[in-house]
Amino acid sequence: MQTIHYLLDGFAIALTWRNLLLCVMGCLWGTVVGVLPGLGPLAGMTLLLPLTFKLDPTGAVIMLAGIFYGAMYGGSTTSILVRMPGEAASVVTCIDGYAMARQGRAGPALMIAAVGSFIGGTLSIVGLMLFAPPLAAAMLKVGPAAEVILMLLALLVISFVSTAPPLKTLAMIVLGLIIATVGIDPLTAWPRFTYGSLELTEGISFVALAIGLFGVSEILLNLERIAAVHPIVPRLRELLPRRADLAAAAAPVARGSVIGFVFGVVPGVSHIVSTFVSYAVEKRLSRHPERFGKGAIEGVAGPETANNATTGSSMIPLLVLGIPAIPSTAILLSALLIHGVQPGPQLLVEHPNVFWGLIASMYLGNVILLALNLPLVGLFVSLLRVPYAYLAPIILLVSIVGVYSVNAKSLDIWILVISGGIGYFLRKFEFDTAPLLLALVLGDRIEVNFRRALTISDGDYGIFLKGPAARALLSALALIFFLQGIAWLLGFRRRNAERFGSG
């Protein structure tokens, strides 16, 4: 009952004309960046970060969250119509979505993707609303030692689910933690790796590094394959699916909602992994798996629902634990910190208007996206006709000015450019840069809590084993190590067996 009371308060905040406008703006911009290759939710959110400086924290987070889930909607449009995923979570949708479009069934594919996204997105907000408050209450009792283990667990899970080989992911995590040590030591004020530069005392700008590693490197990669686009755009009356389509999509949408919600809580590349898992599940459960890849509507409904269902649940680690599960939520974390709001278990107590306003706005945003996306599909796709020779420089301009505006330091432009170049090479050789960013965000807190815990215990490392929370987290950590070890051993043996087998 109390939850409904809080939610109604949230709607009162989200339904003010200003916040509603910010939500619409976020959703529209999110769809645009989702449609455009090279601009995913991360870049889209960072580019509009300066705009949020003049807003209150609730308005800022409402707009940025709108971009986040709007991009998930937008990504599917180009996957279906041009076989060009606007962002990574829509790669799977290309397979059957584009096949449907080539069969003249782009309309039903778009409609099912939109409705699935709406259902998945909405159900995950219900989950966020129900699970976040009790989890936050439990987290308030956790001390610095358990917090260290929790964050180590998050980093380990990232290496577990990352698409890159574990050793490469581990290298990226350690690199991120090293970059996090640049600046003034938070406990003793000792300058580390600052070389006497005042600009470096606050550390390496997360926003510049994020945009460089993801946005600039994506543009550099896209420059290698500038291509002419010939979209298949359906008419409005062709959008309606047949009754058989709706029946076939119902179960995949339900399963996609659950898969997406569960994976959304897992740190790393959850929104991408959930789409692949959903596709694999649908193919395995189908009576006609041979239709997959040739225009099976289940192959669109499941993954599209799953990727949108991660948006709500990926907010749980951010809002309740202060741990961003994916790089996009790390931008939300940055935005909240800029506004003096610390995400974590205290958020619900100290800033309930931010939390409940955000939840209510997400319900509204999903309705807005469903209402706007289908009628405006032609307009969004026409953005792809803008030649990349003009689009790429504009994206770079906005990235540069956006990054500069955060701290007004030209050093951040150097960081942007250099990390863009490094990101290009790393991605070429299949290094996953998302774990680096998440390690950078968590690095400071891991170190501070680690040293604080040792100060409390007078140097006794036993503090990390004490208390039920620490023991539960430590058991989970050990279990993951064990599973990872077995997986590595099995893979190693299989490779050796294949090598011997093939002579």
């Binding site: 003793t188 420059l223 290698e224 420089p393 000015v401 505006s405 100060t455």
Partner: protein
């Protein structure tokens, strides 16, 4: 991500490609990380490291430097001995190299020339590099883009840019 079927690669991206074996690229990244690790370990030793029971500001960088050294050695070993990937990776198209050099130029001239002239030049040169358009069109695009950036960021959002 933009590799749609039925789409044709533009003329500007066809020339000047270099390709390397993936395992060589992995080894190069591993060597770069190892060099960084050695540097971090060396620099961290000059900081107060403290003790295991009471870590100082150098404790974490030192530990992480050692961890990075171990990981990069593992990567090097993997790329050369255990699971060397011999597939070829295309690197550094002419347009990618040009874009990177232009961006370095932007970082260098941003304060010196002022933000808007630098950005106008960047837009003009990048658009001319990526597509065979006339110079006057590229220049017009640069000026229009910088003007739009001024309207949006400086006038509308109140962002303070050098020289604007």
């Amino acid at each position: 991500m933009a590799s749609a079927n039925g789409q044709t690669e533009s003329a500007t991206t066809k020339a000047h490609k270099a390709s390397v074996e993936a395992r060589h690229g992995d080894a190069a990244v591993a060597v770069a990380l190892l060099t960084l690790a050695v540097y971090v370990i060396w620099t961290a030793q000059a900081m107060p490291v403290g003790s295991i029971a009471s870590p100082g500001p150098g404790f974490f960088p030192l530990g992480l430097g050692i961890a990075l050294a171990a990981t990069s050695l593992g990567l090097l070993l993997r790329s050369r001995i255990i699971a060397g990937d011999r597939s070829s990776v295309e690197l550094m198209h002419a347009s990618v190299g040009a874009a990177f050099v232009i961006l370095m130029g932007v970082a260098f001239f941003f304060d010196l020339l002022g933000a808007l002239p630098t950005l106008a030049l960047m837009l003009a040169i990048l658009s001319r590099t990526f597509a065979p358009i006339a110079w006057w069109k590229a220049a017009l695009f640069g000026i229009a883009g910088a003007f739009a950036a001024w309207i949006f960021f400086v006038r509308l959002l109140g962002v303070s840019l050098p020289g604007a």
